[in-house]
C-alpha cells in the first residue's frame, strides 16, 4: 500500500509542470486583494480608490467637505486653459490625444515595439515636443495642471492594465521588485507601509493601502499647497525613508507605476484627488 501511494505521489509530482519563479500579474492581483480583504475587512474594491478616507470616518467627513469646493479647482482651470490653447503651429493637445474623456484610461501602457512604459505625463510632453513646443517639467505646475484636467475628464472609467507579453511582464516584475525591496536609511520598502502596515499610523498620518493608489493622481496635496504628479509623490516617499529619489519618469518609477496600475486593474479612476 505504502509503495503504491509513493509511486502515485512521485508520478503526480513528475507530471506537475515546473512552476515559474514569479507569479503572474493576475495571481498577484488576486493575492493582494485577498490580503486586504482580510486585513481591512468590510470594504468594497472601489472603496480603496479613496485611500485613507476609506479607512477613517472622521478624516472622510473632513475630506468630503473639502471635495464640495476642492482646492484643485484652480489647477483644473489652468489645465483646461492649457488644453485649449493652440500651439504655435496651430495644433493643440486635442490633435495628439483626441477625445479627452478617453485619454486617462489609456495610461500607463506598455509599448511593445519600443519596449518601454508610456505614461500620461510622458505623452503630454511628447505632444509638446512633437509640435515644436517646450516640454513641461515633470512634477508640478503646468504638467500637473494638464494631467489634472485630463484625469477629471476621465473620471469614472476603469483602469485597464493587464501585462500579457513577456516584455510587459518584465517591466511589471521590475516594478514589483521595486515595490517590495527595502531602501533608504530607514530600510523600508513601499510594502512595509502600504501593505503590511496599511491602516496603521506613521506618526500623525494614516498609511494608505497600496490597492488603487494610482487611481486618484495627479493629486493636490495640502502639504505641497499645489498639484503634483504620481512621480512627484514617489520621489517624496523615497525621501521619507531617506533614500535618494529617482528622477520623475525614470525607468524605475515608470515600472513602479505600471506595477501599481496592474494591481489596480479594473478599479475606477477618480482623479484628481485632494489629500493631506
Amino acid at each position: 500500500m505504502k509503495k503504491l501511494i509513493t509511486t502515485v505521489a512521485l508520478f503526480a509530482l513528475a507530471l506537475t509542470p515546473i512552476v515559474s519563479a514569479q507569479a503572474t500579474p493576475s495571481e498577484d492581483k488576486a493575492a493582494l486583494r485577498d490580503y486586504f480583504k482580510k486585513s481591512l475587512p468590510g470594504k468594497n474594491l472601489d472603496d480603496f480608490i479613496n485611500g485613507v478616507y476609506a479607512l477613517d470616518d472622521d478624516a472622510r467627513s473632513q475630506w468630503e467637505e473639502i471635495e464640495e469646493f476642492p482646492p484643485y479647482e484652480i489647477a483644473l482651470e489652468k489645465g483646461a486653459d492649457l488644453w485649449d490653447k493652440k500651439f504655435k503651429n496651430g495644433k493643440s493637445f486635442e490633435s495628439c490625444f483626441g477625445d479627452i474623456s478617453k485619454v486617462r484610461a489609456k495610461y500607463p501602457y506598455h509599448d511593445e515595439a519600443k519596449d518601454t512604459i508610456v505614461t500620461l505625463e510622458g505623452d503630454i510632453n511628447k505632444c509638446l515636443t512633437d509640435n515644436g513646443e517646450k516640454p513641461f517639467k515633470w512634477k508640478k505646475g503646468n504638467m500637473a495642471a494638464v494631467s489634472a484636467h485630463i484625469a477629471y475628464a476621465g473620471r469614472g472609467q476603469k483602469i485597464h492594465v493587464q501585462p500579457k507579453t513577456e516584455k510587459a511582464i518584465a517591466w511589471y516584475n521590475k516594478g514589483k521588485t521595486f515595490f517590495y525591496a527595502k531602501r533608504g536609511q530607514l530600510n523600508l520598502s513601499c510594502a512595509d507601509c502600504h501593505v503590511y502596515n496599511a491602516g496603521r499610523k506613521a506618526r500623525g498620518d494614516l498609511l494608505s493601502p497600496m490597492l488603487g493608489h494610482p487611481s486618484h493622481f495627479p493629486v493636490f496635496r495640502s502639504k505641497w499647497g499645489s498639484m503634483g504628479t504620481l512621480h512627484r509623490r514617489y520621489g517624496g516617499c523615497n525621501k521619507n525613508v531617506r533614500a535618494k529619489p529617482f528622477k520623475a519618469q525614470s525607468d524605475e518609477y515608470k515600472a513602479l507605476e505600471y506595477f501599481q496600475a496592474a494591481m489596480a486593474d479594473g478599479m475606477e479612476l477618480n482623479g484628481p484627488g485632494a489629500r493631506k
Partner: protein, 106 residues
C-alpha cells in the same frame, strides 16, 4: 474681461447663507528666498477681506502672511435667498479684486 482671482459659491440652508470662497493669491510672507538668487521674495499677501450682502458687511477679515497660498474661507450668515453677495480683497501691495454673486449662482 480679466479672469477673477475669486471663486465664490453660496448656498441657502434653513435661513442661513453658506458662503465659500477660493481665492487665487500667492500669499508670500516676504521671508522666502529665491533658490537661485538667494534674495528674499517680496511679501505679497492679502491684508483685508470684506464680504457684503446687499452692500452690508457680513464678514471682515484682517490677514497677514501666516495665511496659506490660495486661501479658502467658509462661513455662514443670517440672510435670504435673494441676497447679492460681494467678496473684496486687498493686499499689501495695493492690488485688489472683487466678485459679486447672487445666492446659488454658479
Amino acid at each position: 474681461m480679466a479672469k477673477s482671482t475669486i471663486k465664490l459659491r453660496t448656498k441657502e440652508k434653513k435661513g442661513k447663507i453658506q458662503v465659500k470662497a477660493l481665492i487665487t493669491h500667492p500669499m508670500e510672507t516676504g521671508l522666502r528666498k529665491n533658490k537661485k538668487t538667494g534674495e528674499k521674495i517680496p511679501a505679497q499677501y492679502i491684508t483685508d477681506l470684506v464680504v457684503t450682502a446687499n452692500d452690508k458687511p457680513v464678514m471682515t477679515a484682517e490677514w497677514s502672511g501666516s495665511v496659506s497660498k490660495n486661501p479658502f474661507i467658509s462661513f455662514k450668515y443670517a440672510g435670504s435667498k435673494s441676497d447679492s453677495v460681494t467678496l473684496t480683497w486687498k493686499d499689501n501691495t495695493g492690488k485688489s479684486d472683487s466678485l459679486t454673486k447672487k445666492i446659488g449662482e454658479k
